[in-house]
């Protein structure tokens, strides 16, 4: 038949099988085979909506700021206050909703900083494998990875005055090397395949190769990780604010609320438990969605 075909296989260089974004029905089927990712997606959307609409949806929006009503303090959960009130008499449910704003913002900012940095290091390190560029990129990555993660975040966040912005910065600093490693792994694996070499031979610019050939190969694991990381960044953020290094009072932050509430255990249990559950819920939701994405992107047939 033709010299370029044998047994129905083409000898022309082909890109590694790539995920097909356009086939919506099949993608949705794969995603929804397990009910959990769908549940997660619903929860994520719900939480995002609640966070955005907090000023209008929360029963006591003014409690999210400076507010003291000592008559109402330490109220257990009731019809008026679904999650009870805290030491200052503030409604915990409202503060949780506003706290979600902070948490989601933190996740977005941290990822917006660490993903581009990690991508750059990873792409360069993976493409220029076995050169000086790779050594530099990956050694720097290793150093930042070697720093005990929370300690770095804590050190940075404390050295600069404890605040939400600084804790976001600190977490980003500790987060980006994971992306670098991930991208490096994908790129260095794919780097020597035919389609890359053909692009080089043709004379495509380095930038083109990096962005148009290699980058798309990373999309699947990247997306999955980003989704999962939204949850984990929120978790780390909560740990930081648990020790006082995040948003400062009176700004409502889920971790801070757990910490403040823990002083009043076990009698006023609702002060810690509800914010803690709120944290667990949002991390769980992102986790479910991330797992669904992982199933979605996997290239298995059955």
């Amino acid at each position: 038949m033709s010299l370029l075909h044998k047994n129905n296989e083409s000898y022309l260089p082909k890109r590694r099988r790539r995920f097909n974004f356009k086939n919506w029905r099949r993608n949705w089927y794969k995603f929804s085979r397990n009910p959990l990712p769908v549940l997660g997606l619903v929860l994520v959307i719900l939480i995002i909506l609640l966070a955005i609409l907090a000023p209008w949806v929360a029963p006591y929006p003014q409690h999210a700021g400076k507010f003291i009503n000592l008559k109402e303090r330490f109220q257990p959960p009731s019809a008026a206050h679904w999650c009870g009130t805290d030491a200052m008499g503030r409604d915990i449910l409202s503060r949780i909703l506003f706290g979600y704003r902070i948490s989601l913002l933190l996740g977005i900012v941290v990822l917006s900083i660490s993903v581009p940095i990690g991508l750059t290091f990873g792409l360069l390190g993976g493409y220029y494998k076995d050169t000086f560029v790779e050594t530099v990129c990956m050694r720097i990555t290793d150093i930042f990875l070697a720093v005990p993660p929370l300690i770095l975040a804590m050190a940075v966040a404390s050295v600069l005055k404890p605040s939400l912005q600084n804790s976001m910065l600190a977490i980003s600093l500790m987060w980006w090397p994971w992306y670098s490693r991930l991208i490096y792994g994908v790129v260095s694996g794919v780097r020597n395949e035919f389609f890359v070499q053909s692009a080089e031979v043709i004379g495509a610019s380095r930038l083109h190769i990096l962005l148009r050939e290699l980058l798309p190969q990373t999309i699947s694991p990247l997306f999955t990780k980003i989704t999962l990381d939204m949850g984990f960044a929120i978790l780390v953020g909560a740990s930081l604010s648990f020790v006082g290094l995040g948003a400062q009072p009176p700004t409502p932050d889920l971790g801070t609320m757990v910490s403040e509430g823990s002083k009043f255990l076990p009698e006023q249990w609702w002060m810690s438990v509800f914010p803690a559950l709120a944290i667990v819920l949002v991390v769980l939701a992102f986790n479910f969605v991330g797992d669904g994405l992982r199933d979605l992107f996997s290239l298995e047939q059955v």
Binding site: M1, N8, R26, Y29, K30, R33, Q301, V302
Partner: protein, 321 residues
């Protein structure tokens, strides 16, 4: 003649998201005692699935829908787990296509071989005895320095050597039936002939029955007494090797033979046109019909059954009526 293994009307399917892949469409196979049966067919026609159904090692999602698999008169599909366990090794054993994947990479070759011999043979034996037998088995498959090989890991051996180990593993338990699933396909061409010759010699010596799976007609001619031609989940023709090669009757078999490259210069340009069917959307009637040049109206309505057309020669085709 005593029949060692008989497969009757076997239907097997795999479940995937789009539906069920009805791969095996009534497979009928018989292995008489002491004979070597060839199973020929292109990739995807269900040869390995049949074997996995026999040995009950179908992957998750695979399921035998109906049929009988009679080994020495007992239906394996109705047998208990314990009975099946008893059959492994001393009754039936298998050589896999890719020797690299068929050996556990984190254990030495000796560890695996000794375990197989110790537990898979008909009689229980001690560790020392099993080890001695392992050395003897490796010698039989012509491995140099068997004692050293025992302490090697699969990654340290070449492809041909790994396949010899797999052959040793399969034969050391003295099985009554050996299933060899394309044992040379993943090897170098130069090694292939060696391995085939070795296999032929070993099963001859023990008078083991063999099901020899391959997609190469040349190999089948060398190795098998009888040939079963398989297409899209069903046996379309079967008979003795001589008979099939001299008087092929089914259109598929004829095409296969024509496509064989020959020393005299024929065959390279011929291909069997078309592809194997989509197992999700199967045609009603004969599964070969879409590719058959001699197809009639009847072929797209009914499924032909294996009928004896010449002595010992069965075909599933309406042309023979």
């Amino acid at each position: 003649m005593e029949i060692l293994l008989e497969v009757r009307d076997l239907f097997t399917s795999y479940g995937i998201y789009e539906g069920r892949l009805k791969v095996l469409d009534g497979v009928n196979l018989a292995v008489p005692l002491g004979e070597k049966i060839g199973l020929v067919g292109e990739t995807g026609c269900g040869k390995t699935t049949t074997m996995k159904s026999i040995l009950r090692i179908l992957p998750p999602g695979g399921r035998v829908d109906s049929g009988q698999i009679l080994f020495k008169g007992r239906d394996l599909l109705k047998a208990s787990g314990g009975e099946i366990q008893g059959i492994y090794g001393s009754g039936i054993s298998m050589i896999f296509q890719d020797p690299t994947a068929a050996l556990d990479p984190v254990f030495t070759v000796g560890d695996q071989l000794v375990a197989v011999i110790r537990y898979g043979s008909r009689v229980p034996m001690s560790l020392r005895e099993a080890r001695e037998r392992a050395v003897a088995a490796l010698k039989e498959v012509q491995m140099p320095d068997p004692k050293r090989i025992l302490s090697n890991y699969p990654v340290q051996l070449s492809g041909g050597m790994r396949q010899r180990v797999c052959i040793a593993m399969a034969l050391a338990t003295e099985p009554e039936l050996l299933i060899a699933d394309e044992p040379t396909t993943s090897l170098d061409v130069t090694i292939q002939a060696q391995i085939l010759r070795l296999l032929y010699f070993l099963v001859g010596r023990r008078n083991t029955s063999v099901i020899f799976i391959t997609h190469s007609l040349g190999v089948v001619r060398e190795m098998a007494d009888k040939v079963n031609v398989m297409y899209a989940g069903t046996i379309v023709e079967c008979g003795s090797t001589e008979e099939i090669f001299s008087h092929p009757l089914h259109p598929y078999t004829i095409d296969l033979l024509a496509a064989m490259p020959r020393l005299s210069g024929g065959g390279l340009e011929e291909r069997v046109p078309g592809r194997i069917p989509d197992y999700l959307n199967l045609p009603v009637g004969c599964r070969f019909q879409p590719r058959c040049v001699k197809a009639q109206l009847r072929c797209s309505l009914e499924k032909p059954k294996l009928t004896e057309v010449r002595p010992g020669h069965y075909v599933a085709c309406f042309l023979e009526d």
